[in-house]
Symmetry: D2
Subunit: 149 residues, 4 copies
Amino acid sequence: MSSVNKVILVGHLGKDPELRYLEGNISVASFPLATSETFNRDGKRVEQTEWHTVVMWRGLADVAAKYLTKGRLVYIEGRLRTRSYEDREGIRRFATEIVAESFNLLGRRSDFENNANSPVASDKKAQAQAQEQQVDFTENNDEDDGLPF
Amino acid sequence: MSSVNKVILVGHLGKDPELRYLEGNISVASFPLATSETFNRDGKRVEQTEWHTVVMWRGLADVAAKYLTKGRLVYIEGRLRTRSYEDREGIRRFATEIVAESFNLLGRRSDFENNANSPVASDKKAQAQAQEQQVDFTENNDEDDGLPF
Amino acid sequence: MSSVNKVILVGHLGKDPELRYLEGNISVASFPLATSETFNRDGKRVEQTEWHTVVMWRGLADVAAKYLTKGRLVYIEGRLRTRSYEDREGIRRFATEIVAESFNLLGRRSDFENNANSPVASDKKAQAQAQEQQVDFTENNDEDDGLPF
Amino acid sequence: MSSVNKVILVGHLGKDPELRYLEGNISVASFPLATSETFNRDGKRVEQTEWHTVVMWRGLADVAAKYLTKGRLVYIEGRLRTRSYEDREGIRRFATEIVAESFNLLGRRSDFENNANSPVASDKKAQAQAQEQQVDFTENNDEDDGLPF
DNA sequence: TTTT
DNA sequence: TTTT
């Protein structure tokens, strides 16, 4: 195999995640994420924003729909995937997305606790690096042997 | 700012890099890179290949054109950038590329030393993590104080 | 070469950075950084904190001393380095440190603007991914051609 | 939580992995990994090697013991962990290790197929990014729905 | 269009 | 103790 496809982003959500359900009741969440960098143009600082389409699947999508909201700062780890599709005029187009494998909420609690779909009691759990695996893991933790690794 | 946009790829070049020159004699190299992953579908191992467009600028482009060839395994670090452009029919399209900031040749020398544009004498230099910065750095290393950091 | 040594941390500073000067007036900053993860032990959520020693050199050290303070959340990219030294009893010891190559302040402005050594006017500059290279770069930007890459 | 602790290494094994078993029959593999970088000192290219202690647990340890051998080039992703222990003279010491979460074999098959504990039939499986999760996953893949994500 |  |  010999291959690695990894993306690491820290940025702000441009919108609340949109949650859909595929056949088999598989959940999919997606949202735009902004990262920005500043550079010099003719001696002036210019900020350039890059917009990424982030997609999450299954348990991770559910957690995202619950805790991620427009404006929040988030750390995302995932991989690149380019989809091919036909638009409404029948033109073949390509869209590159970041398929997230885990995410972490960043910033202080106070930054987001007055939010509409604010996390309450089980917030800690979600913040604890809401990984696809970990989400599964915490749901059936019979196998947990208490070792921190 | 508070933002991170980072891509890490290990994959094989699908073609030799294509080197172009912009106004101001700025060099730009680009090439397709394949990463692949295997997964189960109906009990069978299926391989799925993802193709990435990698772009390099200036000194890094020159080093890439010299040392990277079709088929080579390479580690690439960069950032995502989505360009908007009009295709030949005047349709607005978007293309997401990985703008590389550094690369490392992987695999043994013997894997590629019979290659057409094989690296010779100054190979070490290029292999020594051909970073944009380092390339500049080694060109005017007056400031080098010999400390390993 | 064929080698990569990369560390990515997001965590909180345990103390203000300590700034020292080596011969040749080279600045070195260092500070402890905490990352934490939660795991299940006997059905209870336990948090485990990992402490890292982060070291920065030259321009990056100066920026760190100016903008990083105890408690701040920061994204750090760097590499691992294990130093060998003799402690006060003459015992040979090893210390593994993260030599930072860049950092980003995370969290909102309001989180830290009442801070003692608060950033003021040139804050943007520091927040704009305070990379060793970029710090040098913004100091002599004659070569800047205004292109965002 | 708001925390990330990630290490990415590409380097060569200094020794074959050493496999031990803890109580509960939990397997642990560990080995030294070398990364190296070159820099200028007084106009000469100097290579400096950094040695890392890599530790793997459970299924990942078993896969490592089977496929990783001295000299092999490998991509490793994991996290930093500093252990405290007493050496034989009763002196408290600290050791920082990389607890691997996944690894990928790099380089061509021919580089290692004459090796002593050479992978044979099930090689593909191991090479397919031998992640802790994936290893578990491929062992009980009843839940696999054939979607590539 | 790469590689195993 | 690896590799180029």
